[in-house]
Amino acid sequence: MIPIIDCQREGRSSDIYVGLGLSALGPVARAALVDANYFLIGRMQDEKSLRETQNTLVLPPGAAAILPGLPPGDFLFRGPRWPDATLARIYANVLPPLRQDIQYDTLPYTASRSLREMPHVLRALQKAKEAHKAARLIPGQAGHARVSDTARRFLSSACDMIGLPAAYIFAAMGNVSSYTQAAVRKELETEELVVFGKLRIERTNHLLLEVTADGYRAAGKPPRPLGGKGSPPHCVPMRWIQEVGTQRGYQHSIIEFKVPGTMQAADNAWFNESFRDLHLIEFVHTCYTNLPDKIRAAFASKLPIEQFSIIAGQKSLLKKIDLFLRSELGMVPYSNRISFEVVTPYFEAFLKGRLR
């Protein structure tokens, strides 16, 4: 309730009384009129105010019509001691003229400071931020839980099923409608708990994902980063390729293999002791303009490169890359040492290993 009206209601018990000066009665809250005990209604002309006066003061029919003709100082007066409104004239005490040099008083106070000048408040805010992030996923804290139960289950599964596309995680969760899947993705993306990205493998789009550090913290699980650089459509396939290398019996299967003596790194490298059977692999999601530098650096190094593979999601992209490399100066000597492959067999081998 508006505090002024609150005071009217609680006036007797709290000894606070209110006098309201109003230039019209029409737009005024009815509660303000209901709880008033004394009325002094002067000249008014608008129809709404006349009607409101007629009703509020319970005037005889047509009596409110006197209001527009009232001279200054004449009022319709009604108090609690007489049931009818009567014409009253207030004393013509004239207010003294307003001085221009008004001297205002002051009261003691402590001035406020900016929050930035209060390090203890900033520390408390930092704590609140962290607590907020953690609380968003704690079940039972409904007031703070910003993520639904389904999203929480998905996040928990995603922490365990690293490298699997979202569709496989939803399938493992049971019957989740496409609408719910979209909602879960939006929730987790908004909360920055999971990063999603689409990769087209041949004719199918796969939604790949990576759980962020906040996501692992929120799920209460130890972080297991994918290891590669870039967005999920780039670093998740690198993870597949790494696992396939292990499956194929290489002693070392490394993500982001730094080529010795250069500033370049290959996305994946498989090799045995002393770089025997060294197989360097580059996975291309969309961008391939940096490939010539990487190829030059790799072959210019003293490494015994057995094979250099370029892998992409679609054959059409591989064709584009081939044409691009042929057009690049200095690539001709290496062209017969580079092989092109689609990622499908790697993906299938990875799935086979995971879902076995």
């Binding site: 609150d6 005071c7 002094l40 001279p71 007489w82 009253a88």
Partner: protein, 346 residues
């Protein structure tokens, strides 16, 4: 006397035009002094005829005026401000034992301000005669500041200006817990600022800051956040920390920004400033607040809401005996208590 002069006098007297219109009063004065020719009388008759027609059209249909014994069988009112038109021996005024909540309504120039002035004068007279039964006045002068002149007439008036000397802190009244006060303050700010759900956000921010600012306790006493602090917090905190839904943050931000920027130094107070109970009523003083120029209107209304709510809640919850009667007079209050605002408070 010629017929024109007699007709003009009759017209004025019959309808009491000299009481209603200053021009008619002037004409009557000239008639009485015999300074009017017949031609002038005819011209004035034509001028006053529409006014007389209006008076005839709007004749008094009120019930009969009471006699003195009818209306005041137990004695005359404590605060007398005028008399009945139809029965001038009957005074018009207020009994302090009644709930003296009063509506002064009327267009500009109808005499509202004079009526309030009469009430203050009557209360001042009564305070001098009965100092043990003191009535303190707080006046919000908004429109033209005419009521500010009361400070020259009535003793013990504290005069503050929202532009320069008035300082209002958001701290709770004595004896009221932070939780209760923060909830009230959140609601007041939300409702006056037109927020539908943001009041809870403001409440939570106040809860957070009122604790964080006093951890460890300040050597200058307990500090309380200001609207500027709330605005800072709302810009620093990530979305969703204080809001139940993130979309509320933007509207809360806007309201707090307007409050922080629009009120100047008015609320830049961590402690102290004006407290009606402590600084005015308990000291048997009166307060006049010059609120001219404080805008937008909802900010002005919020300022008065905070002062009033603090007074009311303090009296209701502190458990201490009242310091005395207090009457608060608002000039031009129709927007502060409009139906539109009331609907937001429901």
């Amino acid at each position: 006397m010629s017929s024109a002069l007699a007709a003009l006098r009759g017209l004025i007297n019959t309808h009491g035009l000299d009481q209603r219109d200053p021009a008619a009063a002037y004409i009557k004065e000239r008639l009485d002094q015999g300074q009017m020719s017949e031609n002038q009388a005819r011209a004035y008759w034509l001028v006053l005829q529409p006014l007389a027609t209006e008076v005839r059209r709007r004749r008094n249909r009120l019930n009969r005026a009471p006699e003195l014994d009818d209306i005041y069988p137990d004695g005359i009112p404590d605060l007398i401000i005028g008399e009945l038109v139809e029965n001038p021996e009957v005074p018009v005024g207020f009994f302090l034992n009644d709930n003296i909540h009063t509506i002064f309504a009327g267009n500009s120039g109808s005499g509202k301000t004079t009526a309030m002035y009469n009430l203050v004068l009557a209360a001042d007279r009564r305070n001098r005669e009965h100092p043990e039964d003191f009535t303190s006045f707080t006046i919000w002068a908004t429109k033209d500041g005419a009521l500010l002149a009361i400070a020259d007439v009535v003793p013990n008036c504290v005069l503050l200006s929202t532009r320069t000397t008035l300082r209002v802190s958001l701290e709770p009244p004595e004896g009221v817990s932070d939780k209760i006060w923060n909830n009230e303050l959140g609601q007041l700010t939300g409702h006056r600022g037109g927020l539908k759900q943001g009041n809870i956000t403001i409440h939570e921010m106040l809860d957070f800051l009122s604790v964080a600012m006093n951890e460890p306790p300040s050597e200058h006493g307990r500090l309380y956040p200001t609207f500027e602090n709330l605005y800072e917090l709302s810009t620093m905190a990530p979305k969703g920390v204080f809001e139940s839904k993130e979309i509320y943050q933007q509207s809360v931000n806007q309201v707090l920004r307007q409050l922080a920027r629009g009120t100047g130094d008015l609320f830049r107070v961590a402690r102290g400033g004006l407290d009606l109970e402590r600084d005015i009523i308990a000291k048997h003083k009166h307060l006049i607040i010059d609120a001219r120029g404080l805008s937008p209107k909802w900010v002005r209304a919020l300022t008065s809401d905070i002062l009033l709510k603090r007074l009311l809640l303090g009296r209701q919850l502190s458990g201490k005996p009242s310091n005395g009667r207090c009457m608060i007079l608002w000039d031009e209050a129709q927007e502060d208590v409009s139906r539109q605002v009331e609907e937001r408070y429901v």
